[in-house]
Symmetry: C2
Subunit: 190 residues, 2 copies
Amino acid sequence: MNKKQEIYDEAAKLFQEKGYGAASMRDLAERVHLKASSLYSHIRKKEEILEKICADLAVWFTEAMERVEEMEATPREKVRELLSFHIRTAMDDPTSITVFSDEWKHLEEPYRSQFLASRRDYEERFRRIIQAGVSKGEFRPIDPNIILYTLLSGIRWLHHKQRLPIPQHREGLEMQVIELLLEGLSKKNQ
Amino acid sequence: MNKKQEIYDEAAKLFQEKGYGAASMRDLAERVHLKASSLYSHIRKKEEILEKICADLAVWFTEAMERVEEMEATPREKVRELLSFHIRTAMDDPTSITVFSDEWKHLEEPYRSQFLASRRDYEERFRRIIQAGVSKGEFRPIDPNIILYTLLSGIRWLHHKQRLPIPQHREGLEMQVIELLLEGLSKKNQ
DNA sequence: TTTGTACCCGAACAAGCGTTCGTACTTAAT
DNA sequence: ATTAAGTACGAACGCTTGTTCGGGTACAAA
């Protein structure tokens, strides 16, 4: 129906599979049953596709952060909510997430700087929630930066393992990852 | 002194900064004060460099795994030892680790398959240690695959943040990351 | 029926890529 | 002094890349 959207969707898959650099416009054209030159009736340039994928997901995460910040909840509940949102996004839209996580470096200026600024902002707000939890004694007294990056990074495998040896259904997987990150690997009281 | 080694070292840095695909042989040549054609007095082809970086690190990790497997220790101590090794490697050689983690996909066959097989083997042995810990009740009853990927992934930010806002010295940072992964974010008994 | 708009294509462009080739120059071994 | 090996270079090759251009077709509005 909407050819433009079809191009964007197929491009995301292609960027995920081969990486932005190795994905050629002729590859992409073939997937949407066009010739390369015809793509330019729908888009201005290749990088525009990357920009849109990254920008859309940045908005997606920023809006989630706003909702969480407005919650009446403890830092622990807020962190749990953010982790849950990240995990669900990774499972529902693994293609875009991969591009967002791994291919943003191919953005040209000024979009690259904009992207990084927006990511820094998101991380800063996440860090504030963590800092609050540490100050309250809800969290272990660990450097908030270390916590921030370890949590975010500890999740970054989900979108790669879409159909790999994880025999779980959504809720079970989400619960276990969150439990592991919040409560740790070691079993307590022993 | 040894020009070949200089090329390999500079190539690793270049691959890290721009990605394998975007790093051209002319870029690399300039960095070692040569012209592109002169590189081929020292190496056979571009991908050969990538092969060596990946293969060397694969050996590095496999040998560490062998030492850990031979330890007389609990699963918890073995996991702690492996995490410690990963973290130290990421901090001591962030350049190679980045290439090893992010650029291996550009390996051509049959090296790509070899690399993946070796990685699967490593993960399988790591998984066995985790499984032992779960069976003994030392670890939480979480799917060993989820534990494996979350632990390995939770560390994968260190090599990117070489000179970023982590004001820690080595031991402190290593201790805190391991504490966070093994004991969790939440403070106990409250 | 004419005009306009949206879409598609083949051909071609300039630029960049990894790599090869022929040829020098330097250095050490014979 | 002669040979051989090692290293460096400029030029060029064949290929792929993103993108442009001019011309074509389809279809709806005027």
